[in-house]
Structure formats: C-alpha cells, structure tokens
C-alpha cells in the first residue's frame, strides 16, 4: 500500500525549503546562490523559487555538481532585490525542475546576452570544447569569467573584447568556423537576430525564451508564445519550432495576460 503512495508524491508541485549554503558575487548585480540538493536536471531547465510571503519566480539552474546546485540572480525588481539580501543559512523554497532543456551536440556554440548566460552555463559545463560568446553592456557585467576560460566577449561600450553585439561577433566567427548548433539565451531581440543570422548559414538554433510564469507546469496558459507554453513546451525551442511561433521576437505577455510588443533595445 504505502509504496504506491510514495510514488504519488512525485507528482506534487510544491516548494521544498532549501538552505543557502554559499553565495558567490558574479558581478555587481548578479549573485549565485548555492544549495545542497540532488535533482535530475537537463541544462536549460528551470526551477520556481519561492520567498515566503513575497512571491515566486522562475530561475535557471546555472550550476550543478553532485549534491550542489546554484542559481544566478540578476538584481532587477522587488523579488530579486530581496533575494540578493539573503544570507548563507537562510532558506528559500524551490519546486521543479521544469521545462524541456537543450539537446546537446558537440561542435556547437553558445551565445549569451546578460543574465541569459545563466541558462547556458550548464551547457558549457557539459560540452567543454564549445565556443562561447558572451555579450554585456560593459566589462563589469561579464559573468563567469573565472569559470569559463576562452570566452569570446563583446561589450556595447568596448570596455572589454569585441565592441559591438553578440550577433555581429557570431557572424564573424561563423564565417571561419562551422557549428552543428547554436544555443542562445538573452534579450529576445538578440535571440531573434541570432536565429535569423543562423538561418542564413543554415545552422540550427536552440533558444531559451523568457515569459511571465505562474504555474510552471502547463495549465494556466500565462506563458503562451503563439500556442506554445514556454514552461513545459519550452523554455528551449528549436529553429523549426520558432518558425511557427509568430510572437517570437515580437510579442510577449504581461502579468494580466495582455499580449504586448517587445521593446526593441
């Protein structure tokens, strides 16, 4: 009898409280929080993080190592501000992991913009020979500098690496080197341009999208992108899937469920 009930527990979508065991400052605005916890995880999947009495939001797992997992958090609004104030020993709630991750292939390239690097980090851990392009506004915002050697960096202001966008840099590199796949995560206008560029060169992309989320497990419809639920059908989509998603790069959805144009940066 009891064994059947324990099985059933696997289906419970509720946060489990975990203790922050370490915190690393990745940049002035990004901190990685570490937890001791074993989970089954594919690079690209995410968890919902609950801060009791405050809110619950999605975050990619950016580190995974045996019993240790890490989440890299960019300070942005009310939730991430409180998150950044947490200390080692404090507890937060986690449920998941959710979503479909990346399909990993050797001889590929990742293109990360800003905090988007967080979802690509575990891809890089798994495929060490991969080409890494990271873009940021300025040198201080570059993430994981010690973690990943040989990153091809670009900054908008030219304070470090290539001066220009990740898309420009990718274009240069592709001309010299063929990739099986390009994995990308970052601001959606950038993602769109990466996909368009790769189409030109006939390279498949896998793109991790960002939509406002509620349930995280595919029932509420809040995270829609052209009929695809980003929480379970994504967050990672392939070029051929994106070709059918008219909203990609153009339209996102607000907390009220309204479809609105994405700000071109």
């Amino acid at each position: 009898m009891i064994s059947t009930r324990l099985w059933a527990l696997h289906m419970i979508e509720q946060p489990i409280m975990v203790k922050i065991c370490d915190i690393r400052e990745e940049s002035p605005n990004v901190k990685t929080f570490f937890f001791e916890r074993k989970i089954h995880f594919n690079p690209g999947q995410f968890v919902m993080v609950w801060i009791p009495l405050l809110d619950e939001k999605p975050f990619t797992i950016s580190y995974i190592q045996e019993n240790l997992l890490g989440i890299s958090v960019l300070k942005k609004g009310p939730f991430t501000r409180v998150f950044h104030s947490k200390k080692a020993g404090d507890r937060i709630g986690i449920r998941g992991p959710y979503g479909k991750g990346f399909n990993l292939q050797i001889n590929s390239c990742v293109v990360g913009g800003g905090i988007g690097m967080a979802s690509l980090a575990t891809v890089i851990d798994t495929l060490p020979d991969i080409t890494i392009i990271q873009g940021a506004r300025n040198s201080s915002e570059i993430l994981y500098q010690k973690r990943f050697k040989n990153m091809r960096l670009c900054t908008e202001d030219g304070t470090m690496g290539f001066k220009g966008t990740t898309v420009d840099l990718l274009d240069e590199i592709i001309k010299k080197q063929h990739f099986q796949k390009v994995y990308t995560c970052g601001p959606e206008p950038m993602l769109y341009k990466v996909v368009e560029l790769c189409k030109k060169y006939d390279i498949d992309c896998e793109v991790s999208l960002d939509r406002y989320m509620k349930c995280g497990f595919g029932v509420c419809g809040q995270c829609d992108c052209s009929g695809q639920r980003v929480c379970v059908d994504g967050p990672v989509f392939t070029t051929s899937e994106l070709n059918k998603m008219e909203d990609f790069g153009k339209i996102t959805i607000t907390k009220t469920g309204e479809r609105v144009f994405i700000n071109k940066q």
């Binding site: 509720q14 509620k214 509420c220 809040q222 639920r229």
Partner: protein, 306 residues
C-alpha cells in the same frame, strides 16, 4: 470495431465530442485555444474576463497536492477591451469558443458582454462561484439564488447567445441556485467550479504556500462532489448540465455523463495527462463504448438515474 457517435449538441452548439477545456486552463490567447482544439477538445473556454485589467494574486498561485490542485490565480486578465482584440477570428480555433465573464457588480457583466459583442463566441459562461477572489463569486455573495437570478436576468437582457451559469460545489442549496438561473433564462448550468477554499502549509516555512493563503481545490479530490452535484441537478432542472471537476480519463467523463452531464469540462486533467488529455479522454470513451456496445454517447446521459 463498431463505429460510435461521440458528438453532442449543447444549446444548439454542435460539439465533435463532449470534452471542453475549463475556464482558466490554457485560455489566455487565441493561439493557445487553437492548440487545445488541435489536441482534441470539442469546445474551448477562455480565461475569465473582467471589465478592468487584473494582475491577479501574486505567485504561488497554482500548486498541487496528493489529491489534486490548489489555485488562487485571482482572475488575472487584460480586461474586456484588450480581450476583445485578442479573441477575434475565432473560427480559426476550429471548435466553438465559450467566453467566460466575471464581474463585481451587475453592470460589469453587461459592460463586458457588450465589449465582446463584436467577437464570435458561441456561448457565454458566467462563474458566480469563485471561492478565492475578493469582489467576485462566493466572496461577493453571487452564489445566492437571488443574486444568481438578478445577474442572469441582466445578462439575458443583453445577449442572445446561450448563457451557462457556473456554480460552486460548496453551496448546499445548489439546486435552488440552479433553478434561479434557469428561471432567469440561463441555457445551461456548468457544475462545478473549484471547491473549498483549502489551504496547504509548508511546514518548514511555517506559512501557507499560496500567496492568497487559500485557494480552490480541483482535480481528483473534487470529482465525487462534482458527480453528486450533477446527479442532483439533473433531477432538479430541465436545462442541460456541463459537468466539470476532476475528469482526467474516459471513465471519469462517462461517470459524469451518467450522472447527468451533457458535456464535460476538463481543467486539472491537463496537468495529470498533458495537453492532449482531451484526445485521450475521447479515445478512452470510444473504446469503452465499443466494449460495452453503446453506439451513441448521448444515450448514457443520466443513465445512473433509476
């Protein structure tokens, strides 16, 4: 295998099969409604629309437990004006689309329905039964016979579309409320909305998990309660009943129809079995009908009654 009929006609709306996606489930955009239709739903329902835009409650808004789901989304929706722009060209969806309309005052319902009048909805569902959103449903006293009569009459005045009044399983006098709706001109009763409210506490955090603390219980936990409501309603009223609550298999759908439902809403079942739960439920119904020599699904409606 013998051929069986699973199409039903509900208030003159023809459905290829009796499954309907419940309101609040994958009903945010037209694209998503279309996807649900492609996954086998006989009809689809949009997320409830109010007069003004609403952000709803903060997360966590939806969690699950051993016996079902607990939610307090709080009617997040872009408001009628934006919704009227989203839900156009509904024939593209491929199946009938049901509007769900909520309001705090009688006038709100009228305003929303008028706002949606340029669209091509097949019916209007009015939930008077939400247990976890201040200003709406049970928390605004809309579940009484009088309030139900008043709101239904007002809605009847401004639309010629079929009206479905959606009731709560919590109220003991569900048949009296349904009769009030029938008397006021409702064309069908949707039974039921989520029950409770209920609460789940995370014992390490020592706090209720939902940001609104309490939420409506749905899924398996709700099914026997829903079946009883439908059974009672089938005897009490003449208009058809749309059964909702805990359906995730063909057997569940048949059980509801035998209790008296003419069609069956599915919400939490999407979580249990995926977005193609509609297709799966229909296939299971068809298989069962073939094994039990029933050639028309309409014949089992109310079959559990003497």
């Amino acid at each position: 295998m013998s051929k069986v009929n699973v199409s039903v006609t509900l208030c003159n709306i023809k459905l290829n099969n009796p499954t309907i996606s419940a309101s609040g489930i994958l009903g945010t955009t037209r694209a998503l409604l279309k996807r649900v239709a492609e996954n086998g739903a006989g009809a689809v329902t949009i997320k409830s629309i109010s007069r003004e835009p609403r952000e709803g409650h903060k997360n966590p808004t939806v969690i699950t437990f051993e016996a079902g789901m607990l939610n307090a989304v709080g009617y997040s929706n872009p408001g009628v004006d934006k919704a009227a722009r989203e839900f156009i060209n509904l024939q593209d969806v491929g199946v009938p689309v049901i509007a769900s309309v909520v309001g705090t005052h009688k006038d709100d319902f009228v305003r929303v329905i008028e706002g949606l009048s340029g669209t091509e909805f097949s019916a209007i569902e009015i939930p008077l039964s939400c247990p976890h959103t201040p200003g709406f449903g049970l928390l605004a006293g809309q579940g009484t016979p009088q309030a139900t009569f008043d709101i239904t009459s007002e809605v009847r005045r401004v639309t010629s579309l079929p009206i479905f009044i959606k009731l709560s399983p919590n109220i003991s006098e569900i048949c009296t409320v349904a009769k009030a709706a029938e008397d006021a001109g409702a064309n069908a009763i949707t039974a039921v909305n989520s029950m409770g409210p209920g609460m789940i506490i995370n014992i390490e955090a020592q706090k209720p998990i939902l940001s609104f603390q309490v939420g409506g219980v749905t899924g398996d936990a709700l099914r026997p309660i829903a079946v009883r409501c439908i059974y009672d309603l089938y005897k009490a009223i003449k208009i058809p009943v749309i059964g909702v609550g805990g359906v995730s298999t063909g057997r569940h759908a048949i059980e509801m129809m035998m209790a008296g439902a003419s069609a069956v809403g599915i919400g939490t079942g999407v979580y249990y079995r995926g977005i193609d739960v509609f297709k799966k439920v229909c296939e299971e119904m068809i298989l069962w009908m073939q094994e039990n020599s029933i050639d028309d699904i309409n014949k089992i409606v109310g079959a559990a009654h003497d």
